[in-house]
Structures are given as structure tokens and as C-alpha cells.
Amino acid sequence: MPHLKTVYAKFQNDPNVAFLLVSIDDDQKRLERYLDEMKFPFPVVHASSAEMQRAMGFNDLPSTFYVDRRGIVRYQILGFEPHGDSDARVAWYIDQLTHH
């Protein structure tokens, strides 16, 4: 997920855009090691896997949701993107919601 850091760099000065990562790890140690390595510049929080899957309806990880300013889920990518993750695509989704 290093690509999220790249995209964040583009939006970090935009007060209307926020990134939130939700870890559903059981192994706190492993998560800490991962975060130490990744040093994400945006908030990372933790939640129960079962509850999140029920609330958001995903089976695969990672799953990404793009939520508009009114709190409506506008795009969802369940599991990896079919043609691979790309900085451009993540930025495209955010641009759709900030410009329109």
C-alpha cells in the first residue's frame, strides 16, 4: 500500500480530503512492525474484522471505499483492483468526488 502515501502527497494540503486506514489485524505486534516500516502520514485506527465486514459488506482485503462530502459511499473497491493498484486510479476517484 505504499501507493497510498504517494497519492496522499498530492492531497495532504487539501482540507477537504481525508485518508483513514483501518487495520483489522489480530496481531498487534505485527501491525506495529508494519506501521513502523510504512510510516503512514495519515491516521491509522483499529477495528474488529467481523464487525467491519458486516458494516461495510466486504470479504476481501484490502477494501477501499470513497465517501463523498455528504457521507455517501460513492465507489467501492473490494479486494485488489482488477488491473492492479495505481496511484492514478486512486487520485481519479478522489478527484471525481472533490470536483463534482
Binding site: A18, V45, S49, M56, W92
Partner: protein, 370 residues
């Protein structure tokens, strides 16, 4: 332990009570099994103890069928016959329990939907129908381009919707006028945005106008991508058709068909097969394109290695599997719904609320480090 057994027995004994019936109906409704839900909840309206709650739930289900379901599942359409029924049920709920706040609220919402329905009920004006037909006739190269342009301009002037831009662009592609098609489709997007903004009240819900905006952008991107494909600009076509796919959320026949044709031209048989199958598993699409997709799939299948089944059987199984998968995904989909309140904690164990992010565009990513 004993208490648990007692509870189980009590529940079994009262299996047919109105309360249980209502609970079963609600459960079916949560799963959007509307037929079962309606049958159970209708029963529960007969018992005075559950009447208000049951009428309210029935009203909500009918309102969903009458006004909302088109937005929720691709391929569903609203059933106007349920609209009056929805209002009648909600009125019955308020009558059964005038203090019931949720029923009164639901009734207000349904009445607002009904009021919005009264807007723009006029049939298309004959002039518009005639001009649309003239544009369509312009597909034939026997019609001089000047005549087509005249028809397009007259249609744009007659009514401000984006149809002449998108339909006109399709006609221009068929005439081999790729660059003009791209320009026209591009101009269609701001026209669509303006038309939707000007007529916002004609869309019964906010979600509907957003969906309409997204469809216009998707339509333009798909047409432009297809024109670029015809010009053999494959990278350009890939970018535009891909954009349309994301805007359509992968659920448009023409777009999937175009992506398949592009993949085939780029000599990517696996991708072509996936897109042809996705296209055919969606309803609609012109018969000629459906036929072509089936023929191309047959060729791809014949060239493939595994051929244990005859083509027809394989195709049917593939399409059914895709349709089932889509139905399952739609039921679980959170698209176009409010982000629910999530119970989150910070890494040092304090509760974290997403309310601090209200009013922002949010990228919400769920991951695990393993």
C-alpha cells in the same frame, strides 16, 4: 442454563404470534427478500398489538419498491403501482398509533416523493421526437453531413438535454467522423450537468441526480473511448473506456463490449473473454452487438485449451455464475448509502469517531498487515 432453555421453549410455543411474524418479516426485509417480507408483515397488520409497526414497515417496503429500488440494484426499476399503497400503509400506521414519530416521518417523505412525481409528466413534444428521428437518419451516408448538423443544432435549440450530443456522437462514429464525435461528446458533459442542475426537483432523491450525473460522464467517456478505438489510438481508448467502466461501476453492456473489442484488437484474449462475458451477463445492448460478442466468445473458446463442455453449455454456466455473483455483491453493496457509524479505536486503545471527518471526501481503506 435453565433460563436459556425456558426462553427457547417460549419462543417455540409462540411461533405464530404476530410479534414473531413481524420479526420474521423484518428479517426478510433486511435481506431484501421483499415477497416473503410483505407476506409476513401483512399478517402482522391484523393484530392490534403490532398493527402500527407492521403498517409502517409495509409502507417502507412499498415506498422502496415504488420509488427507490431502481437506484439500489442495477437492472431493477421502480414500480409506480406501489406508490399509492405505500402512502395508504403509512397513513394506516399513523392512524393505528398517532404518536408514532417514525411513521409520521416516513409518511412525510413518501408524500414528498409523490409530489415530486407530478413534475414533468408531459410526453416528449412531437418536435423533439421528430428531430431525434432526423438525427438517427443521419447515420446513413446518403444523408449529407450538413443536414445532420442542421438536425443536431435544431435539436440542441429545442430542448437543453444532452441527447443530441451523445446520440449525435454515436451517429458521427458510424459515419467515420471520429474527431467530431469526440468533440460533440465532450460538449455533452457540461450540457448534461446544467440540465440536471436546472431540473433537480425532477429527480426525487439526491442520489438520483448524482447517479444521472455519473451516467452522463460515463456515456461521454465511453463514446470518446470508442471513437479513439476506431482511430486505432489504443492507449487513449484504454484510458477513456476504463474511466467509463469505473463511472458505470462495470455494469454497462456497451462499455463492456467496447472494452472487449479493444482487448481483442490488442491481442489480449483473456481480457477480451472476461469483458465479452461481463457484457453478455448484463441485460440490454443491441442484438447485433450481443450476437457479435457471442460469436467472438465462441472463437476464443475454440482457440482455448480446456474444452470439456460444448460452447453453449459453457457460456450459459459462465453467464449464470456472473449474474449470481453480481446479485450477491449488490445485496452487500454499500454504494450510494450513508457510511454507517463505525466502532473504531486508535492504536493506543481509545475510541475513534469518523465524525471528525464529516464534510470531507474520505478514502477509507481496510487492511491487514499479514
Amino acid at each position: 442454563m435453565l433460563a436459556a432453555i425456558v426462553v427457547t421453549v417460549a419462543a417455540a410455543g409462540a411461533q405464530n404470534s404476530a410479534r414473531d411474524q413481524l420479526a420474521r418479516g423484518r428479517e426478510a426485509w433486511d435481506q431484501r427478500l421483499t415477497k416473503t417480507a410483505i407476506a409476513d408483515v401483512q399478517e402482522a397488520t391484523r393484530d392490534p398489538a403490532t398493527a402500527a409497526e407492521a403498517h409502517e414497515l409495509l409502507g417502507l417496503i412499498y415506498a422502496f419498491k415504488g420509488w427507490q429500488q431502481e437506484n439500489v440494484f442495477p437492472g431493477f426499476h421502480d414500480e409506480p403501482a406501489y406508490r399509492e399503497k405505500a402512502i395508504a400503509e403509512l397513513k394506516a400506521a399513523v392512524e393505528a398509533d398517532p404518536k408514532r414519530f417514525t411513521s409520521r416521518q416516513a409518511l412525510l417523505v413518501a408524500e414528498a416523493f409523490a409530489a415530486a412525481d407530478k413534475i414533468d409528466q408531459l410526453p416528449p413534444r412531437p418536435l423533439i421526437t421528430e428531430l431525434d428521428a432526423r438525427i438517427e437518419r443521419g447515420r446513413s451516408l446518403d444523408i449529407p453531413i450538413g443536414e445532420l448538423v442542421e438536425a443536431l443544432q435544431a435539436r440542441m435549440k429545442a430542448q437543453a438535454d444532452p441527447t443530441p450530443y451523445f446520440a449525435g456522437a454515436q451517429v458521427l462514429i458510424d459515419r467515420g467522423e471520429y474527431n467530431n464525435a469526440i468533440t460533440l461528446a465532450e460538449h455533452g458533459v457540461p450540457v448534461a450537468e446544467r440540465f440536471i442542475q436546472e431540473n433537480l426537483s425532477a429527480f426525487q432523491m439526491e442520489g438520483k441526480s448524482d447517479a444521472a450525473l455519473m451516467r452522463s460522464r460515463a456515456q461521454a467517456a465511453d463514446i470518446i473511448g470508442w471513437a479513439l478505438f476506431m482511430k486505432k489510438d489504443y492507449p487513449g481508448a484504454d484510458a477513456k473506456l476504463g474511466e467509463a467502466e469505473r463511472l458505470y461501476r462495470g455494469a454497462d453492456f456497451n462499455n463492456q463490449f467496447h472494452l472487449a473489442e479493444l482487448a481483442r484488437a490488442q491481442n489480449k484474449p483473456d481480457r477480451a473473454r472476461e469483458h465479452y462475458l461481463d457484457a453478455l451477463s448484463l441485460t440490454a445492448g443491441p442484438p447485433a452487438a450481443r450476437e457479435r460478442a457471442t460469436e467472438e466468445l465462441a472463437k476464443l473458446y475454440a482457440a482455448g485449451k480446456k474444452k470439456r463442455k460444448p460452447f453453449k453449455g459453457w457460456l450459459d454456466a459462465q453467464l449464470t455464475a456472473r449474474q449470481n455473483e453480481r446479485k450477491k455483491a449488490d445485496l452487500k453493496s454499500r454504494l450510494d448509502t450513508q457510511l454507517p457509524t463505525l466502532e473504531l479505536t486508535t492504536l493506543d486503545g481509545k475510541p475513534y469517531s469518523t465524525s471528525s471527518l464529516q464534510g470531507k471526501v474520505l478514502l477509507l481503506n481496510f487492511f491487514a498487515s499479514w
